[in-house]
Symmetry: C2
Subunit: 343 residues, 2 copies
Amino acid sequence: MQPRAHVTLEDVARAADVSLATASRALNGMRVTPQLRDRVLAAAEKLAYTPNAHARALAGASHRTVGVICHDVTDPYFAAVAGGVMRVAGANDLLVMLASTFRDPEREIAYVSMLRAERAPAILLIGSGFEDARWERALEAELKPYLDGGGRVAVVSRHRSLKVDSVLPENRAGAAAMARALLDLGHRRFAVLSGPRALTTVADRLGGFREELAKAGVGLDPADIVEAPFTRDGGYGAMTELLARGSTATCVFALTDVMAIGACAALRDQGLSVPNDISVAGFDDIPIVRDLTPPLTTVALPLQSLGEKAMELALTENSGRRRRLLRMGGEVVLRGSTAKVGS
Amino acid sequence: MQPRAHVTLEDVARAADVSLATASRALNGMRVTPQLRDRVLAAAEKLAYTPNAHARALAGASHRTVGVICHDVTDPYFAAVAGGVMRVAGANDLLVMLASTFRDPEREIAYVSMLRAERAPAILLIGSGFEDARWERALEAELKPYLDGGGRVAVVSRHRSLKVDSVLPENRAGAAAMARALLDLGHRRFAVLSGPRALTTVADRLGGFREELAKAGVGLDPADIVEAPFTRDGGYGAMTELLARGSTATCVFALTDVMAIGACAALRDQGLSVPNDISVAGFDDIPIVRDLTPPLTTVALPLQSLGEKAMELALTENSGRRRRLLRMGGEVVLRGSTAKVGS
DNA sequence: CTGAAAGCGCTTACAG
DNA sequence: CTGAAAGCGCTTACAG
């Protein structure tokens, strides 16, 4: 049996013995004599008719599919933010096209281009921008015509030069608060497990942390900063490297919880105890860290809200000319992975 | 500044001083005199032209956006499977529309309908079906015309009556293998933290486990089976309930790792030690369970492959008439959360 | 309220 | 190889 062609509005109109226009109106809930309306609805039902979204979009009806681009759905941080996005999207009867760039900048540009072709009414960029001028220009070149065409864009996390509505986790302040909290515990010698320097998030968190330490007269030895991918395995490798370097830090600050989880695994594998031998702190407060042993000290970000707010920004008309910035604070949560020095 | 209309192929053709047809061909890599081709490409570049995907789809070109419906992106199980789907999709230049039903059957149907309207060339259903005749009929009513129209459908996990290509984790055999492994450790009194009975996955895992125990002459007291949502908090609540009932089980089998994580948290909060006071086992082997303390004994499923295979099934022509079934085995991995009885 | 018709932006036979 | 034209399946002024 060869696949039949799709049932079209015309089939429905014919079956109901009305014009195309009337069928369209009846299906879209516009004013139509009840009798005709019933005939149309019955015919549509019987034929299992589904309107062709492309024809609809082409003909000018608004398209209900928004685009979301994140680095990696598999990462609990992005999963949580995406969850927030989808909650709001679902509540607004919107379908979400979710793309994973797997942290490839080229692919990010390609996805924006595809979403633009899809005429998505909104595009959300979830995740830190890259501090790379070439990439920024290419991204802007895609986004500019999209915005000019009436597209809406919102981002979560800082993008240096993008003039779009943004939800900004307070990375800098959060990292500074964490520095203070750790200093209060008596630590004076720190190590940092960092992600790729090109990410704005890395610059902000590392900068905020370092600066606050400096205020207390505590320096950060370059040898105590290890750069690795923003993944569990990246954290594992970085921690292993740090130990190999013979670091004397009493406390390790991982720039994300996911890296902290890897770091803890590495310490365990080396027979070291957290927090007795060394304290570990993370950033984000992804759901799982509460259930680790010991539970992780971290900077808690309202992850789901980040996504919800971004979707709301994109959905809501920006009356003013200027971009809207929504700062979302983080809060230090001290848990079992960090201990007082000397206790 | 009012949003200008989108740049269209016609604009490009005019700028390049060629016909619409030639512009279209040049952009699509069909044979065109190099000179004309260059003019078209240059014009497109200058105007930041992006083809309208809707017009393209309407005009008959194939649409490169596939649909994926899962229960909850936020759940590490689905995140891992979705990751596999996206990897294959990305490699094939496909965009993924990912929808989260948040476990609402109604919403699942609604999403299939939307994806059908989008004329997605393929729809993937990730996650267990519901054993609910009304729901099954409604889903089939959506899927049938889609399939007849040439749509491709693949599912991960068992759907009772859906005649579509399927990737089937061997839930039954995996649970049976787990039962054997736990019996081998000397356990004779078990409890099960179960998800909603209406899910086929629950029926299979619980059935396989119970049956294997029965072969060894070990029964499962109904009071030792607690049903709760398939979430971390569901597992926490179920474990708490089990303790309140005064269960004497020496080993708890949670039907998913996510529930097992909640169970471990509940035990910890009650001051009980895993595995000294009680053993805990899960199912799925989501990435995080390796990093728990103690690491979780579980049935390891190749989560990413599940997604990859499903996407591949949907992408690859089904030459035969019949549905293809791809069974993917699970393997018991004994870790620290289970102990020998009496040791 | 209803219908005939134009138009959305492409692709693709069909001629040339 | 190139171009004029039809057609994809809708929506929406425009008449009536």
